[in-house]
């Protein structure tokens, strides 16, 4: 028994776990490759299109992207911090329910809320129609803010991205030591001064970490800005690739965008490091501030308004639209679409989870600096916008197809067409680059909750590493594996730019179809696929909430 278990271990992990390490190294190289392709493009000659870009629209791409990022950062900060503070520190009716309801807008992809509000607020939408009917105005008589604008995009993105800030800020506020707050009161500072000079600065690293996630998402967004006609880096990349077919220039624009991406990554990692120093080591929690009368009503009303605008109103609108045409739209084509999305998302999710499991297990066993670095590098993918990854995948795939065709023409006298380009394989590979980090983070936190002494006691009982993995780690990781799967599944389901660029010809997903229908102003028809995405998107939020509820820290 002992001998067999040793031998199957040595098949997978020879004494030094050499093969595991080599495998992990190869995976990491594969994951960074598209990013390296993009970065290396700045060393290639800049073509005519680039100079044309420089003379005309490049500055507006940069300015719009920056304004959008900072606008959304500000918006999410205001919404996220205020709601987090109310829910974490104050006591008012509905506080517990709101603490998870406030997460719901996360399920709403920005491009979906964007087109829903466009339908609601446009000149021909119900709001303006009613306004005209009530006041007897006609078109042009009155001022109404234009939603298809930079400001509109800022609002839409803020409404669905604030939960990132809310989530981190709430945990930070809730974990702030009662003693620290009391120390401030004790030294003569009132509640407001205490909030401004103690609570808020102490939550700052968490808030900045949340805001940097928001900025990553904003930079990566394509659906909203494209729909609103705002020129940013992502729409620029699409225009150059689709409109001009200039992949090299698209890569160079992507490389420029990477500068922003890396700045945000640095910001995020720095604030996460700071968060460690501010960690709560005290036992006594602050007493919740009892809000009474009108204050309680205002707090409750405020939080419900945020959720209503960010989730409830758009979802009602989507349901109304979807219901009005469900007979026409719930057909074979839709089933086909849903099936495509399901297959694509679950394949990508399974591969991501397996890859993440492999990397994190190798890291756990080998504990070498290399394997730790590999995991950190693999985690970077999430910060890279989907459009950039798509371009970074497309360039080597195109080069590979060209080479194969050259060889085949030389040897057999005919070309065999595209092999990688336009295949589901490279699409899934691009998802892997972008979303492996999501599953990796989940599995790593799951693994870290299994104490190393458990591995050691298994080893001292003569159990091989592979058997430890099978009999101890995997059963204990069951929930983490499922969570990782669902997180990636939903992210793939929602992902628009990567899918748009890399999908095989005539292959559609729910996200792509939603976007196409909305772009064609068929908002009502777009509701059914959109609603499907949102409803499935609720799954990971329930999971997040369950994990938070479990760690007694928060309540």
């Amino acid at each position: 028994m002992e001998i067999t278990s040793r031998s199957d271990a040595s098949f997978w992990f020879p004494p030094s776990i050499r093969w595991g390490s080599i495998g992990a190294f190869l995976i990491t190289v594969l994951l960074v490759f598209p990013i390296l392709v993009i970065i290396s493009s700045i060393f290639r000659p800049f073509g005519q299109v680039w100079h044309h870009l420089l003379d005309t629209v490049l500055l507006s791409y940069i300015v719009n992207s920056i304004m959008l990022m900072f606008g959304v950062a500000l918006g999410t900060c205001l919404l996220g911090v205020s709601s987090a503070w109310l829910v974490a520190v104050c006591q008012f009716p509905g506080r517990k329910t709101l603490s998870w309801i406030l997460l719901l807008p996360m399920a709403m992809p920005a491009y979906i809320i964007a087109y829903t509000y466009t339908g609601l607020l446009d000149v021909s939408g119900p709001i303006q129609n009613n306004l005209r009917a009530i006041f007897g105005w006609s078109y042009g008589d009155y001022f109404f803010p234009q939603i298809r604008s930079l400001g509109g995009a800022t609002c839409m993105l803020s409404l669905v991205l604030y939960p990132y800030v809310y989530l981190l800020a709430r945990v930070s506020f809730a974990n702030q030591a009662g003693a620290i707050i009391e120390a401030s009161r004790n030294l003569g500072r009132g509640p407001l001064s205490t909030f401004l000079s103690v609570s808020l600065p102490m939550a700052r690293p968490a808030i900045i970490a949340g805001v940097s996630l928001v900025m990553m998402e904003t930079l990566a967004d394509y659906g909203t800005v494209a729909y609103f006609g705002v020129s940013t880096f992502t729409t620029g990349i699409f225009r150059i690739w689709y409109g001009l077919g200039e992949l090299a220039t698209a890569a160079q624009l992507s490389a420029m965008m990477m500068f922003f991406v890396f700045s945000i990554i640095l910001l995020e990692q720095q604030s996460r490091r700071r968060m460690r120093f501010y960690k709560n080591e005290y036992r006594v929690k602050t007493k919740l501030i009892q809000l009474k009368g009108s204050r309680a009503t205002i707090a409750s009303f405020y939080c419900w308004t945020v959720v209503s605008i960010g989730f409830i109103i758009p979802i009602i609108q989507l349901v109304v639209w979807a219901a009005s045409r469900w007979r026409e739209n719930l057909n074979n084509a839709f089933v086909n679409l849903a099936w495509n999305s399901f297959l694509l998302a679950s394949t990508a999710a399974i591969i991501c989870v397996l890859g993440a499991l492999f990397l994190s297990i190798v890291k756990r066993y080998s504990k070498s600096n290399l394997s730790i670095a590999q995991v950190e590098i693999a985690k970077l993918g999430y910060a890279i916008p989907g459009a950039i990854i798509a371009v970074g995948v497309l360039i080597p795939a195109g080069w590979f197809d060209n080479q194969v065709n050259l060889i085949s023409e030389a040897w057999f006298g005919k070309s065999i067409g595209l092999i990688l380009g336009g295949s589901l394989g490279i699409l899934i590979f691009a998802y892997l680059v972008r979303f492996l980090s999501v599953s990796l983070q989940t599995l790593e936190s799951g693994l870290s909750s299994i104490k190393p002494s458990i591995d050691e006691s298994a080893a001292s009982l003569g159990v091989s590493k592979l058997n430890t993995l099978r009999k101890i780690h995997l059963p204990l990781l069951k929930t983490s594996l499922l969570t990782a799967f669902i997180m990636v599944f939903v992210d793939v389901l929602k992902e628009l730019p990567t899918t748009l660029i890399l999908r095989p010809f005539n292959f559609n997903t729910l996200a792509v179809r939603t976007y196409e229908l909305a772009s064609d102003e068929r908002l009502i028809d777009a509701a059914l696929p959109a609603l499907t995405i949102v409803v499935i998107g609720l799954l990971p939020i329930l999971l997040i909430f369950k994990t938070i509820a479990k760690s007694s820290n928060v309540e």
Binding site: E182, R185, N186, L187, G188, M202, F277
Partner: protein, 344 residues
């Protein structure tokens, strides 16, 4: 009367259960008083009520000449001029040492504020780390910062919550003595809370001994040790062996070893009493007249400690020189020296 703090029949409830009840004591200017008691006895509750973090259910608290708390009114903590040093220090992690100390001085002019910070840094001897952050300091340094921060605004009253609990035992007594010197030098009225009697005795002028939410005894450390009036005090302060014994009408104790004469007051005569035998009440002496069985022993630094069994089964302790060691089960010859016994 220059009382800085008066507690009058203070009671506090935590979720309908009584945490402390009927607490009354006062502090005069420059006095250092310690609330001593086991954990869960309600001592922190009293401190938090004085700081304004707990509401009273009855009684009142006066700070200086101002009513700070009654059953119907709680002055907000920031208006009490009471500074607290928290158990875990509660230093602001996002501020450096200087800014932690100046935190309570925001109503003062910048010049005056920085002078005061300098003064405090000098006082706690941390000038060279004034720009470090709390996580970069040792525990001892953190404690000094917490003390400096609390003293900076010149509070009417300083509260210390288990001030040495985070420090290792070697440093505690030394730091307690240093802190007493500092507090006395600046004539700071101080109330501290601890479960460690060594800390309490090293620091304070008066000790308020509490248990289960009510005061057992109040007195100076010497009074408490020499003349405890409650069994709780004798037991909690670990003053010696508590045994139950009969005192006959002639003032003799009956250990079952023959009568032992005492000079106890007459109102205990003929009763079964609880007797506190301090170390030294039983002396190992080869010329002694009593033999007791050794039921356990433990080596102390310079003496051998023996647990001895009385004929009725109660256990007492005695220490003897290391030279003639006995084993468990043997008999030890002792004599009784009952000059300083306490009776309850």
């Amino acid at each position: 009367m220059n009382n800085q703090l008066i507690l009058d029949k203070v009671s506090v409830h935590h979720q309908k259960t009584m945490a402390v009840s009927g607490i009354s004591f006062s502090l005069s200017l420059g006095e250092i008083v310690c609330i001593l008691g086991p954990s869960g006895s309600g001592k922190s509750t009293i401190l938090r009520a004085i700081a304004g973090f707990n509401d009273l259910s009855s009684g009142s608290i006066m700070i200086g000449d101002r009513t700070a708390s009654t059953a119907h009114f709680t002055l907000p903590p920031e208006q009490r001029s009471v500074s607290m040093v928290f158990q875990d220090f509660a230093l602001f992690p996002h501020l450096d040492v200087s800014r932690n100390i100046s935190f309570g001085l925001q109503s003062q002019l910048p010049k005056k504020r920085s002078d005061r910070v300098e003064e405090m840094l000098e006082l706690i001897n941390l000038q060279d780390v004034s720009h470090k952050y709390p996580h970069e300091l040792s525990v001892g340094q953190q404690q000094r910062v917490a003390l400096g921060r609390a003293m900076a605004p010149n509070p009417r009253l300083l509260l210390l919550d288990e001030p040495f609990a985070s420090l290792d035992t070697d440093n505690r007594n030394r730091l307690a003595r240093e802190m007493r010197k500092l507090l006395k030098l600046h004539n700071i009225t101080t109330l501290l809370v601890t479960h460690d009697q060594n800390e309490a005795f090293a620091l304070s002028d008066q000790v308020v001994l509490i248990n289960s939410g009510s005061i057992q005894e109040i007195g100076s450390p010497t009074e408490l040790v020499q003349r405890p009036t409650t069994i709780f005090a004798a037991d909690f302060l670990d003053l010696g062996d508590l045994i139950e014994i009969n005192l006959d009408m002639g003032g003799n104790l009956d250990f079952g070893l023959g009568k032992i004469p005492t000079h106890l007051s007459t109102d205990h005569l003929g009763k079964r009493i609880k007797l506190l035998l301090r170390p030294g009440a039983i002396i190992c002496d080869d010329n002694g007249s009593h033999m007791l069985k050794i039921v356990g022993k433990n080596l102390l630094a310079s003496t051998q400690g023996y647990s001895l069994e009385l004929p009725d089964g109660q256990t007492v302790h005695c220490s003897a020189s290391l030279r003639k060691e006995k084993t468990v089960g043997e008999m030890l010859t002792v004599r009784f020296c009952l000059h300083e016994v306490s009776v309850f």
